[in-house]
Structure formats: C-alpha cells, structure tokens
Symmetry: C2
Subunit: 304 residues, 2 copies
C-alpha cells in the first residue's frame, strides 16, 4: 500500500489543505434537532459524511463523542469511517491513545490494520509514556501504509501545568535542525514538545520517503512566542512529515495566523476546524459551503 | 452515592488488596483454545468474571483488547463490566484517556456517569496535556462517586525517553510532604511524576475525605532507587488516595517487593496482576485458585 505521507499529500493537493473534525458534541446534536443517543449520532454523522467526504481532504472523527454511546456509538463510528473512506476522504481518527508493550500493539492493531473493524488511515497518539512506547504504533503504521500523529504542543505555556513544557535532557535533540527558534539560555535541556518533534523528525528521516508518514499535533491557536518558548519555532516545526494544526476557527486561530506561524512548513501543515463548519448544519449544502469557504480562505492565505 | 475511596477501601478490606487485569491478549485467547474474535473475547471474559468477580476486590479490563474487535468488542466490554459489578467487584477500566475541554468531558461522561453504557467505578487517565486538563474527569468522578487513577511513574529512568522523568518547575510541589525521598541536588525543579503526585495529593486534600478518591499509577516493577530518583520515594508516595501498582507477577514485581517499596502507603496500595492469573485458565477453579493464592501472598507480605 502507498505510504500515508504520499497519500495525504495527494489528497490535500487535489482537495486543498483542510481537515474537518467530526465532533458530535451533545450541544451540537441538540442544535441540529437530534436526540443525544446513538440514533441521533448516526443521523448527524451520515449528514456530515454525505456533505463533506467527497470534497474535504481529511475528516477527523473524535472518538470520545462516540464512546459516550457505548457499543452502539462505536458501531456508528465504524459506519462513519467506512462511508467517509469510500467517498475518498482520508480518515484521521482522534483517539490520543498511548500505552506500553502488548497493549500499545493492541491499540495499533485496532486502528491501523486493514482488517480491523475500526481501520482508519491515521490516528493521534500520546507520547507521555516515552516516545519509544509508541514503537508498536509507528511500526504497524509503516507496515500497513498508515499514519500516526504524535501530540506535540497543544497549549501555551501560560496555561501552566502542561507537561509538554517540561524540560528533558537535550542529548538526542541533535537529530533536528539547530535553528529551532528557541531562546538561548545556556540550558542544555529542551522542552518535552521539542523532544517529541525531534524524535518524529528522526523517525521520518530513517523511513527516507519524500514526505514522512509520522506527523505531529501543534495547536493553531499558539503564537510565535509560544512556539519559540518551547523551542519549536520557525524551521523547528519541520519534522519531515505532516503537522496537524487543530483550533482553526471557533477556537481562535485564523487562516492568516496559520499561514504566518506555520510558514516554514506550509506544504506540510494541515489546519483542522470543527465547530465553524458543523454549526452550519444540518443543511448539507450549508455544511459543504462552510467547509469549502474555509478551504478557499486557507488556499488564499497559503498562496501569499 | 458513597465516594469511590471509601468503597475501594471496604472492598479491599473484605476481599483483600488485589486487582486482576482482564487483558484478553490474542495469544491468551489462543492458549485458551478460543478464536481471536468477538465470540472468543466474550467466552474469555465470561469465564474470568464467573471465576473471579465474587472473590477479587477489583477487576481491571484493558480497553485496547476490546477496541481491537470494534463495536462487537465494546459490546463484550459492556457486558463484562455489568456482570463484574453485579457480582460485587469494583471495575477499574484501563483506558488511559486524556484530552482537553469538552472532549475530556465526553470521555468522563462515557465512563463515569451511571447512565452511560460503559459506566464503571473508576478509570485510568493520562496527564500529558496538563493536570488541569483532567478537571472534567476529576469533577465528574467526585459528583458521581467514581474514581480516577492518574498515570504517575510507570517506567524506570534507565528506559530513557519517558516524559514522566522530565523536569518541571517545583513551585506548587509544596503541597506535598517535603521528605519525598528525592536526591538533594539544589535543583528547584521536580520530576513530572512528582508533580503529578503532588497535584493528586492536593486534590484529595481539598476533597477532605478520610480516604481520597483520586489515585495514581506507580509501577510495581520499579525499585526504591527508581522512585527516589523521580523524587517520590517513601512518604512521597502518599497521595491521600489509592496507589495502583501494576506489574505484579509475570512482569517482575513480587509481593515482597510491593510490601517493601510501597511500605509507607501499604494501606492504600492496590497491586495488580494479570498474566499470572489468566494463564491459569480456562478452568474456572484454577483461575480462582491462582487469584486467591496471589491475594493470600499479598496479605501475608503486607502483614510483615
């Protein structure tokens, strides 16, 4: 199977650099006049997939909103994933899984094997238990043409307690570009986020493809100062693979922000929005228009 | 509803301080002569619950092994949880979820609300996005008598990349006991694991119950040196709530190790084993014997 990085690049080249999150929040079900149960969830997802899966490059269902409804919700997730992929969308399932050993392998098998009921193109993963704890995800994805997006930096330092800002020994950060935009403090340590990005960069370098299949998640709501303070500003964002940037739209990031902040990796950034598009529903034409408008704004901003 | 901390203490007082993990690994299904599908999974779990749920204080299903089988696997998980709770066991679902805002709330609702299809007594959570990102889990658990176990320290420092060993500013570690057993280096920073334990301790202190309902996960395979190097040795392990210690048995920790290393919090430690008990199956009597033997060894070791 073709590698995920190449497939993603083709999809965004054809359809534009946009990811739309499928976040069936109870309040959104209510706004659409749907009950907060598995039936409402199914109707919601069917409408979103019908309206968007033939137009948008990447759809990103958020697992939590399906898990709320137990097995019946997961059945809707299975159906949603299948329908979206059949219509030509790449499906990135937002599950943020992370575990060790055979449990990490079980999660990888659950989402990255073609034969699995919940087989998707890519998933998000959590590196808290150590980047090497993600090895089963990385290996399974590589063997089966899938993608993995590792949580990098999602909150700004002023929010305080995020372990993404913890300091780790910088010994193996040498695999990255030295000009990471971080402040020069004489401190040999680097942020946990910078260490994660360095590990992803090394992983993509070893794989040796033109476009890597291991991505990172870096919030679209962060400022240049936030990125610089975590030591991942400018060229430091280049991990040789895709950069998922959630938070576009209702959460505060604009296309111009994304274009400016992710300018050094503009070919690889995948901005993600959800509320702004979904709240245009339930009319399918309005949903589609909202998504295509957002895509066109991004294309315009990225051209500058 | 009675608080989780009190319910857990009553259960371990009556049944002994043992948690048995339900990890239906494909190799284990094979060893039991069962197919690696939802039917095999259901037969496996039914046997385990029938054999153990009336005897063991806590059963801990590992979500990954159910997610592998999609919606059909989650239906088995629903049934397993219901049956185990009906038989009087406390169910701690090992999901290691972590997210922000309304997504974290959706995960909390999925597992900690009584009306949810997958309602359990407690879950494990991942603090990578910041301890405060766990607020929806903590609040929902408190309101509904549930428990939350936050990943603390699961790997030893020599394994290297674990962000649990990253250093964070130690400013708010003052809520804990100063004698945390860590080395005195003049460095004002503390390990991420120590910061997590301090936050859990503060959370339990605010709740003000005799036994807290917010727990931590600290590996039973760690040595005193590992804990001291992370600054959580000795009294530092006391978070005013339960300490789940996975890795007993096949993974290397013995009852004597647990008794020695967790001696300062022996009333609160909940050792967890899985492979050692499950590999005694599929004979229900053998399964039960293996669990009760493990429990008795722990009771003996803890008495010393």
């Amino acid at each position: 199977m073709e590698r995920f990085g190449a497939r993603l690049q083709q999809a965004t080249g054809r359809r534009g650099p946009l990811c739309v999150g499928i976040d069936p929040h109870p309040s959104l079900l209510g706004a659409w006049g749907l009950p907060d149960d598995a039936g409402g969830l199914a109707a919601f997802c069917e409408t979103v997939v019908d309206a968007l899966a033939e137009e948008v490059a990447v759809l990103k269902p958020q697992s939590a909103f399906f898990e709320r409804h137990g097995a019946a919700g997961i059945a809707v997730l299975e159906q949603t994933v299948r329908a979206a992929r059949s219509a030509g969308a790449i499906v990135l399932l937002d599950v943020k899984r992370g575990d060790i050993g055979s449990t990490a392998q079980a999660y990888a098998d659950a989402y990255l094997l073609a034969a699995a009921p919940l087989s998707v193109d890519a998933i998000t993963v959590n590196p808290y238990l150590g980047f090497e704890s993600l090895r089963p995800f990385l290996d399974t994805a590589r063997e089966h043409g899938g993608g993995v997006f590792v949580l990098g930096l999602t909150s700004n330092p002023s929010e305080g307690t995020g372990l993404q800002h913890a300091r780790v020994a910088g010994a193996d950060s040498g695999t990255g570009d030295p000009s990471t935009g971080g402040p020069s403090t004489g401190d040999p340590s680097i942020s946990a986020a910078a260490a994660v990005l360095a590990s992803v960069r090394a992983e993509n370098a070893v794989a040796g493809a033109a476009v890597g299949s291991v991505g990172v998640v870096v919030g679209a709501t962060l400022s240049e100062v936030d990125l610089a303070s975590a030591g991942i500003g400018g060229a430091g964002l280049d991990v040789g693979g895709p950069v998922l940037a959630p938070g576009l739209g209702a959460q505060g990031g604009t296309a111009a922000d994304v274009s400016r902040i992710f300018g050094s990796v503009i070919e690889q950034v995948l901005p993600s929005t959800s509320r702004d598009v979904l709240s245009a529903g339930p009319d399918p034409a309005a949903l589609r228009s909202a998504a295509l408008w957002q895509r066109d704004v991004l294309l315009e901003a990225f051209r500058v």
